[in-house]
Assembly symmetry: C2
Homo-oligomer: 202 residues x 2
């Protein structure tokens, strides 16, 4: 990958973590080409096996590949800023989650307390599987949730959680001024500010 920035100075790890976690980062420049549907389904397959409370699997994915008729519609559902770069992605995905935990046997339907958390773990698995396949992903906030719901036919009981772009890493020089300089892996705060023995110490 010619354009892969040097990560050594930005992403120093303190422990012998698997490289997939550190290799995953969120670019904005993608090679504007299609991707095989099989690769996208493999990414969703990783998400499929994520853990969830009572194994209810609250996550759902709605996708468009750049070669299909839905792609422009998906672009139009993004926040204006994200539209400026996400149009180069090979696929765009909206993630929604079931706010109701379906009943089973004698147990009735009930509100889910973990649908967003569990959907986050599914999204993380998708991003990691994409990395393993040589792709990059970029998660996006969603603001026009009612428009997304209407255009994508998402039932009321499902929450519009987020979107993400996926594709092969593109040339940073293809980005607009202001984005080009930000096209690199982000750092993290030290683990000593994140994980503590015995009690919260932030």
């Amino acid at each position: 990958m010619t354009h892969q920035p040097d990560q050594s100075s930005l992403r120093r790890t303190d422990h012998a973590v698997d490289s997939v976690f550190v290799s995953r980062w969120s670019p904005r420049s993608f090679v504007p080409q299609d991707m095989p549907e099989e690769d996208l389904l493999t990414i969703f397959e990783a998400a499929r096996w994520a853990p969830s409370a009572y194994n209810v699997q609250p996550w759902r994915f709605v996708y468009a590949r750049r070669s299909d008729a839905h792609f422009q519609k998906f672009i139009d559902l993004l926040m204006p800023f994200n539209r400026t770069w996400a149009h180069t992605a090979s696929a765009l995905v909206f993630i929604v989650s079931d706010t109701i935990m379906p009943g089973s046997g004698d147990r009735p339907d009930q509100p889910s307390a973990y649908h967003t958390l569990d959907t986050g773990s599914a999204w993380g698995s998708a991003a990691l599987q994409a990395t393993m396949l040589g792709y990059h992903t970029h998660g996006m906030a969603v603001t026009e949730t009612e428009m997304i719901r209407e255009v994508l036919n998402v039932p009321d009981r499902f929450k519009i959680e987020m979107a993400f772009a996926v594709g092969k890493l593109g040339d940073p020089n293809a980005l607009a001024d202001g984005l080009r300089d930000r096209e690199k892996p982000s750092p993290r705060r030290p683990l000593s500010e994140t994980a503590w023995n015995g009690s919260f110490k932030g």
Copy 2:
């Protein structure tokens, strides 16, 4: 791993997903032994590199290893049902998330819309890194959140999200009746009910 159940019949995949996603499952019987702190920190290091909105990294981990003075205190904060099996874990972890997105430059602090979702992706990375190290994890719901907050000194602005147990896979025969038969990897619904092209089709 002598007690690893045969997964082939339970976890058939439709796409060539990496084996780590399918190998990860949530047992209740762990070998009741300590684990090196370095392994636990490596698990948190994987979580450290998870994606988050504006890279605010809202997740925090508070942990106890079974060899340290905090372990029994952590057991006591679990739901009664989970106490019946989680006491064999090598470590217990509570995950909390920052509900406030810290300001930066001219931007003031503001409520975070993605703290739970992003914390879910960090938890997923932790679970996968644990799998890569030969451990198993089991996520747990939390109900006594005010007690957890008090005992672990968690500030009000942080949400108590979940807990998890980590350890090496134990003997299912060590489990109580009723749990023994459930000690196997759970299935998933087909991907065709989870991911759709163009619009929601559930």
